[in-house]
């Protein structure tokens, strides 16, 4: 029973303008399995997933589900034929309550004479979460009040209200923190146990290897091969994805903490009501200080607060070399500090502006002379240098940022700070949503900065990343600094999770 085929696609081809996103892909997915799609950014994974979910129509090719012709013309059509998807971009409507979002488009069943029976709606919403043991979100609150993680859970629950037998998950765990990933994995096990099938797109290879039964690898829009997950390891997947040998390590190799005794940043009794509880720490020159914690421990809020953008902050943050207190984001930038938000598209880039404007923005003030004069030529030279130094692949400085791949967007985001000499940088999940190649590239940059003596705060949702790169890891628990662990002595997943919980 487990070996029969639930979904097969044959000869799927898709063009976007001159881009050949899917090249004649033929693939079969077995019932009751978790099937992974691996590939670099732009390899066509998301396109294939969205074709299967009816979001886009292929140029040619046919699909079969349960042996019958499967032609989803819309996502709704796909739902009716038992396929549902949770997309990479967030798709909940902020002004509606969680319960309304959950049954969007299916309100009819709860309404009589045009009036919605709210009690029945809430009951059904409650059941939808309980059925799959998902952490319930506040059903009566508008979705705009939710964190990214809560929204993702809401989207997952919404997809499940269609009672699909094939569920497509596109990069769902990227935004989830350690504990919610566990919830997700438990859900996947339950779902699979019910004889249902999951098609999963993820950048996290470790995760993919751990939970998938079969993995198909795409490169440049074409299927390279499909394997049993048991026959693969991370290096092999990377090799297949990139098509050539890659070095097996991308984290740093030394097992010892190694940084200067000079302090760059010192936080004392750092406090933001409801977000951070009296956190103190020191950051040294050439140190990578990892920051880890469960989803609501306050690690991302710490980043925002350090950059001076939290309201009602108390306590002191001092830039030690000049002995200046940092009170605002401006002070941070003035002392050669920088900050990268976790949500690159919302808080980092101007997506509809060109690369040049994006790189110029944080450097405009620094490069302006008398009467605020900005020499267009020096700004241009700066952008060109950033493009070259950080190998940003684009059609030129005028290209709009929205159309860059995730990895190249992140390179733009990073390079605009790195083109100047930094003393310290606060990075919130810098490798979120980028492929293996760019990930390795960013780790390379971190090591280069470390060598130059830049102090780095690396806030991360991925324990392997934090352990792989940091000299010390500060673990936050319930908004407090629960422990600071050292690279030599305490770096193991068990030890960190123990402190987190």
């Amino acid at each position: 029973m487990t070996s029969d085929i639930v979904l097969s696609v044959t000869g799927i081809d898709k063009h976007f303008g001159a881009t050949h996103a899917n090249r004649c892909i033929t693939l079969t997915i077995k019932r009751g399995t978790v099937h992974g799609l691996a590939g670099e950014n732009g390899s066509g994974k998301s396109t294939l997933a969205s074709i299967i979910s009816g979001i886009q129509a292929p140029d040619c090719g046919v699909m079969f589900k349960d042996g019958r012709h499967y032609t989803p013309e819309t996502p709704l059509g796909a739902n009716r034929q038992g396929v549902a998807m949770v997309v990479q971009e967030l798709g909940v409507i902020g002004g509606l309550t969680a319960a309304q979002n959950l049954f969007l488009g299916k309100m009819k069943q709860f309404s009589r004479f045009g009036v919605v029976n709210v009690r029945r709606l809430l009951e059904a919403a409650h059941t939808a979460f309980a059925k799959w043991e998902l952490p319930e979100v506040p059903l009566e609150l508008p979705a705009s009040a939710f964190s990214i993680e809560q929204r993702k859970m809401l989207e997952l629950a919404r997809a499940l209200t269609n009672d699909p037998d094939v569920l497509v998950l596109d990069e769902i765990s990227q935004v989830l923190s350690h504990d919610n990933r566990r919830v997700l994995y438990r859900f996947i096990d339950n779902f699979k146990a019910g004889g249902k099938t999951i098609l999963m797109v993820t950048h996290d290879l470790e995760e993919m290897l751990a939970i998938c039964d079969e993995i198909s690898i795409l490169r440049d829009g074409a299927l390279v091969s499909t394997h049993d997950a048991a026959d693969l390891d991370a290096d092999k997947v990377k090799r297949l994805m990139i098509g050539r040998e890659v070095s097996g390590h991308y984290y740093r190799m030394d097992a010892k903490a190694d940084y200067s005794p000079d302090i760059v940043l010192k936080a004392e009794d750092f406090h933001v009501p409801g977000q951070i509880e009296r956190v103190s720490f020191e950051l040294h020159r050439g140190e990578i200080l990892g920051v880890c914690g469960l989803s609501d421990a306050g690690i991302h809020e710490l980043g925002t607060a350090l950059f001076g953008l939290a309201e009602h902050r108390t306590g002191r943050l001092t830039y030690i070399p000049a002995n200046t207190e940092l009170k605002s984001a401006k002070d941070v930038v003035k002392t050669h500090g920088a900050y990268l938000s976790k949500d690159r598209d919302a808080y980092g880039l101007m997506l509809d502006a060109d690369i040049h404007s994006n790189i110029s923005l944080p450097n405009a003030d620094r490069l302006s002379g008398a009467l605020g004069f900005q020499n267009p030529r020096s700004l241009r030279a700066l952008s060109e240098q950033a493009m070259k130094d950080y190998e940003i692949k684009s059609s030129g400085l005028e290209q709009h940022t929205r159309r860059l791949s995730g990895g190249n967007k992140q390179k733009v985001n990073l390079s605009r700070w790195l083109v100047k000499d930094l003393e310290y940088i606060i990075l919130d999940c810098p490798t979120r949503g980028v492929d293996v190649g760019v990930k390795a590239y960013i780790y390379g940059i971190l090591m280069e900065l470390k060598r130059k003596g830049v102090g780095i705060i690396l806030i991360s949702d991925e324990l392997p990343e934090a352990m792989g790169m940091s000299d010390r890891i500060m673990v936050l628990k319930d908004h407090r600094n629960a422990a600071v662990l050292n690279r030599e002595a305490d770096f193991s997943e068990e030890r960190i999770v123990e402190v987190m919980l």
Binding site: G17, A18, T19, F307, G308, L309, S328, A329, K330, V332, V333, Y339, S341, A346, Y347, G348, L349, M350, L351, D352, A353, D354, S357, S360, L361, P362, A364, D365, S368, L371, G372, F373, Q374, P376, S395, G396, E398, Q399, H400, R403
Partner: protein
């Protein structure tokens, strides 16, 4: 490089449209459009909206709205007239500018400190500042001093003030951080905030510039009509906005905001009005055409910008 040229072509569209309109109406009116007297008229009517538009552009670039321009015109002209009577001829400009600056600063501070949307603040100003002017004026109409009127009747003064202001704004808007930040806020306010830029300061500055320019436009208007009445500048802000948006400046602001588009847009509406008047089209029809042209222009600007995007994407 080719992409640069294409983006540049997008900026030229309003200028081409302006040229096409000129050719059409000169042909239709058998050259009457371009007679010396009519050109004088067109320019005369275009100068105040261009000047006010130079300021409003900073606000529009941020994706915000300032509809207080018309009442600032009345308020500033009132103070200009009073200052001329009290302290002499040259006090007109400082007095007007001060009035515009204070109004703009106040709008900016309310907007950033109390997070009231700019449209609502300026709407309330449209009502309350007009009331203030009415209170101060009573039922009288203030006459503007004759020397000031004479000064503004000379082309040399009008054109050199206009040219000076255009140059200053082109400089601030394109070659200083302030201009870049205003446009960047229109693209993504959070991205600006998260690069350590004080967004509130930029916003307050933008509203202040808008107020000052509206005040200068006010002095021009008052000089042309010869005085201040309680209705001076009524719905002037609509004319300025039409100039901005007919010129192809995106309603959401951002990097597509350009001085050249403003100037082309303002000339386009006066040209359109003047052409229709010369063709003996009734006032009501003229107004209807203006409204429809605005809609068409905003739609067209969107189509052009999208097609440039798409071509860039298709590589």
């Amino acid at each position: 490089m080719t992409r640069g040229v294409k983006a540049y072509m997008g900026d030229l569209v309003p200028l081409f449209t302006l040229l096409a309109l000129t050719l059409f109406f000169s042909a239709a009116t058998k050259g009457a459009l371009l007679s010396a007297m009519n050109l004088n008229n067109i320019l005369n009517q275009s100068i105040p909206p261009i000047i006010a538009g130079l300021g409003m552009m900073f606000v529009v670039a941020m994706g915000a709205t300032d509809i207080s321009t018309g009442v600032v015109v009345a308020l500033a002209s009132y103070f200009a007239c009073m200052a001329v009577t009290a302290a002499g001829f040259w006090a007109a400009f400082p007095a007007a500018i001060l009035a515009g600056l204070c109004t703009g600063l106040l709008i900016g501070v309310i907007n950033t400190r109390f997070k009231v949307p700019s449209f609502m603040i300026t709407l309330s100003f449209v009502i309350s500042v007009r009331a203030l002017v009415t209170l101060m004026l009573g039922i009288q109409t203030l006459q503007i001093a004759k020397p000031l009127r004479d000064l503004f009747n000379g082309w040399a003064v009008r054109l050199s003030v206009l040219a000076g202001l255009v140059l200053i704004v082109v400089y601030v808007f394109n070659y200083t951080p302030l201009g870049m930040y205003a446009k960047a806020i229109g693209e993504n306010e959070n991205a600006v905030k998260y690069t350590g830029i004080n967004v509130s300061k930029v916003k307050i500055a933008a509203f202040a510039i808008s107020g000052v320019m509206a005040a200068i436009a006010g002095v021009f208007t008052a000089a042309r009509v010869g005085g201040v009445s309680t209705t001076l500048g009524t719905s002037f802000e609509m004319k300025v906005m039409m100039g901005l948006f007919i010129g192809g400046i995106p309603v959401s602001g951002g990097m597509g905001t350009k001085v050249s588009k403003l100037i082309a847009g303002c000339l386009m509406i006066t040209l359109l009005e003047s052409g229709l008047v010369l063709l003996n089209v009734s006032g009501a029809i003229t107004q209807g055409v203006r409204g429809l042209v605005l809609l068409a222009a905003v739609y067209f600007a969107r189509v052009v910008s999208l097609s440039i995007h798409n071509r860039a994407e298709a590589r």
